[in-house]
Symmetry: C2
Subunit: 252 residues, 2 copies
């Protein structure tokens, strides 16, 4: 007698699933179901359009009530991923950003190589992630699909990544950053950006044009999120920022 293949082992340390400005409660429920199908548990909602909890989520969750009940709501992408050291956003294009692009298999391989918490970002149903959301992401994951009809349903996109997560757990990433220190959490990057801005503010650097500050924030977020800085590197850069803006105090 030949038994069926053994049930799959759900890989450890699944990423947080972060829904940015989701619109329909029904879709949030369907996401919860897909998450539980593939061993994800940590659902984070950023500004859900119709508030939270949302009674429309229950029926489509189809029993994934624990995922719904444990979902957390955040005001901003930065808050939602503050504890994550790797954030990958799903999008069909890079929206003209200089940003690394990866496949679902590539994304999960990177996440499975990390002992820290990672995050997968999914945008609103109508628009997907916008440029300001993607600035928080270390990489962009593009699901290969019909070039003439590429926009996936939100929960179906989560299901595809979930499937990639479950089947991908034996594959090493195609390349990775050797990092003896440990990658910085997103909150540390946000702290560095804030420190730079604070110094620039103090030096009246933003004064010439009112929109300059927002543009600068985006540029800084883009440049500082991309390299995959370690905690020690972020500390070093904070020292550099101080060093650029004030004289070094004498030692001892």
């Amino acid at each position: 007698m030949t038994e069926p293949p053994p049930p799959p082992v759900m890989p450890a340390n699944p990423p947080a699933i972060v829904l940015v400005r989701p619109q329909l409660g029904m879709n949030i429920g369907a996401v919860a179901r897909a998450m539980k199908n593939f061993g994800f548990t940590d659902l984070r909602l950023i500004q859900p359009r119709d508030g939270w909890p949302n009674p429309d989520a229950g029926p489509s969750a189809a029993g994934a009530d624990d995922v719904i009940e444990q979902a957390r709501v955040f005001d901003s992408v930065g808050d939602a991923i503050a504890d994550c050291t790797l954030t990958i956003g799903t999008a069909m294009t890079t929206r003209d950003m200089v940003r690394r692009v990866t496949s679902p298999a590539g994304a999960v391989a990177e996440m499975q190589a990390l002992p820290e918490r990672s995050a997968l970002l999914f945008g609103p149903e109508r628009t997907g992630l916008v440029r300001d959301d993607l600035l928080h992401c270390h990489a962009i994951c593009t699901i290969p699909s019909n070039p003439d009809f590429g926009s996936l349903n939100l929960a179906q996109a989560v299901a595809v990544l979930g499937y990639a997560w479950v089947i991908g757990h034996d594959a090493p990433p195609a390349s990775w950053l050797v990092n003896h220190d440990g990658p910085a959490a997103q909150a540390e990057l946000a702290g560095l950006i804030a420190a730079i801005e604070q110094r620039l503010e103090a030096n009246s650097w933003f004064n010439p044009a009112p929109g300059l500050r927002d543009t600068a924030t985006r540029m800084l977020r883009n440049l500082i999120t991309r390299p995959g800085f370690t905690t020690a590197e972020v500390q070093f850069l904070r020292g550099v920022v101080r060093g650029l803006s004030e004289p070094r105090r004498p030692q001892g």
Copy 2:
């Protein structure tokens, strides 16, 4: 300047997507969208619960109107897959059948190695495919998922197979039947089964017990669907059936 990766090439000759007794029009629409996302076009519906066309399908199709409009309705699994030479059903278990089990990647690899039309069967939302449906399938495809929460939403299951279809097109199947003749279409297998039953009927073989005929049909379908017979083999077996039930006529 580094360009983004080129858009994926949709593999040729995608399988028919066969929904067996689908319940909700909304889900049929969501299936159509997922199909178009991954280059599938041939939607076949067996006894849709709420009839067809169904106005609930349009909104969730989200623009995959051509898939919806070209969908065809059938009365039975046998009718729906009559022209297909490889039929794979998606299910979480084999329901105690002796049947080959494959993964999504394995299923698409087999389909991509075939020049003929293949079919992927998906069961009703509430129950999935039942044993009588699976008897028509050469193999059962199980999506690896959480052993404690494995039931996928219908359209999400289609999306997972669609994703596997698009990423799998360079991988050869793990094993395949070398077949210089060409696999028999499902209608040829059905013809063989009918021929056997007709001879058994003529010999009053079913008379002892009223339920015997249904049981025998299932057994025959199971045994005759599994091996992957070629057209020539089916012709040979029809000759054998004749030979068992009537004297050979003299040659010439």
